[in-house]
Subunit: 218 residues, 2 copies
């Protein structure tokens, strides 16, 4: 019985995540979730006392995964190509929990307890972008002043934070598939002009590698 | 009488804009507006049949002002410093109607008729940024490939569109003063690395000119 309880709890979380990502969290009720799971609303309530509890659980998972990525000591020894993979892994985390980013301002207004925690993540992201750029300068692959790195890091985090919402607004559909290849490409494009020599080649390689993202654009 | 009617109509629009910008449009009712104007709700209703009509009027004004700026033939003959002023004028327009940008996704969901019109403005902004960069390349002040300009233009418009919302989220207050100097600085920082020679000096000048924006940051 204990095992089945855990399984139902976990299924609630995973199905909610899928519904939130596909339809937008404000458009999904606990009834929709229990219908999708084919369990009674009472059974759902036994595990999670309302939608806010589920959103909190999902946010806690997103927060833990993102923290783990941002704290990763691996990035200290990265080469240029691995920085790119690192950025991809971060975007994949954002993509897994993209319902948070669909209308971030509204989400943080409705679940205001998440606001400070989200802000801590944003600050941490700005710091990691800054440190990564500084490491690239030290490694001799990048040429940028501290002033430039400070502005670059903030612009990178803005692109990471708003790319998905920008897609939702610009698309005719309400819930477009997130095209993270395109988001990665745009973020790399912010960094590329500060890279030594390889600058043009790097962006050109990006254009080739992430061509699908580019071609899919209207 | 006709003159007084026009005056009241205009006062309603201006006071609504001020309240929307200061407190956030979702937090303001037509009662708040009539109270602020010291007129009766009936008198307000005589001029505008509900808040949506006022939002529509304000959006139409924003749209007309932004269109006029984006269509400005003057920018064809701009030097580097004037491009900067041009960017400032665009940000001042955004700042005048900043309530639209506070939570754009939510606004365009609630007033869904505005979505296509806002998207047309966004597309027009991307095109103007693209053309401006192309002009700078032709004028020999910028060195950038078409691929790079395409990504740069999209990143510029994302910064313009989300800077204010990003401030609202990151601030402890709900309605921080928009620090457009900082927004201009971050937008110039996107372009600066593609500028010839003057690159470093240009950004350094920016840092000096827009020092207040920088110093006011937490």
């Amino acid at each position: 019985v204990a095992e089945k309880k855990i399984k139902t709890r976990e299924r609630i979380v995973l199905v909610s995540l899928e519904l939130f990502n596909d339809k937008g969290e404000p458009n999904i009720t606990t009834i929709d979730i229990s219908n999708e799971l084919e369990i009674s609303p009472g059974n759902l309530y036994y595990h999670y006392q309302g939608k806010e509890a589920i959103v909190n659980e999902l946010f806690a998972r997103f927060e833990a995964e993102m923290q783990a990525l941002l704290d990763s000591p691996l990035r200290k020894t990265l080469g240029l190509a691995e920085y790119w993979v690192y950025l991809q892994v971060i975007y994949e985390c954002i993509h897994r929990y993209r319902f948070l980013y669909r209308d971030l301002a509204d989400l943080l207004t409705r679940y205001h307890r998440l606001k400070n925690r989200f802000n801590l993540l944003l600050s941490r992201m700005v710091r990691v972008c800054t440190e990564t750029c500084e490491e690239m300068v030290t490694a001799g692959v990048m040429d940028a002043h501290p002033n430039e790195i400070e502005a670059l890091a903030e612009n990178m985090v803005m692109t990471m934070t708003y790319w998905y919402g920008f897609q939702v607004i610009r698309s005719r559909q309400s819930h477009p598939e997130a095209d993270i290849d395109r988001a990665i490409y745009l973020t790399v494009a912010l960094v590329a002009p500060y890279l030594h020599e390889t600058q043009r080649n790097f962006l050109q390689d990006a254009a080739d590698l992430y061509k699908n993202g580019l071609l899919d654009q209207p």
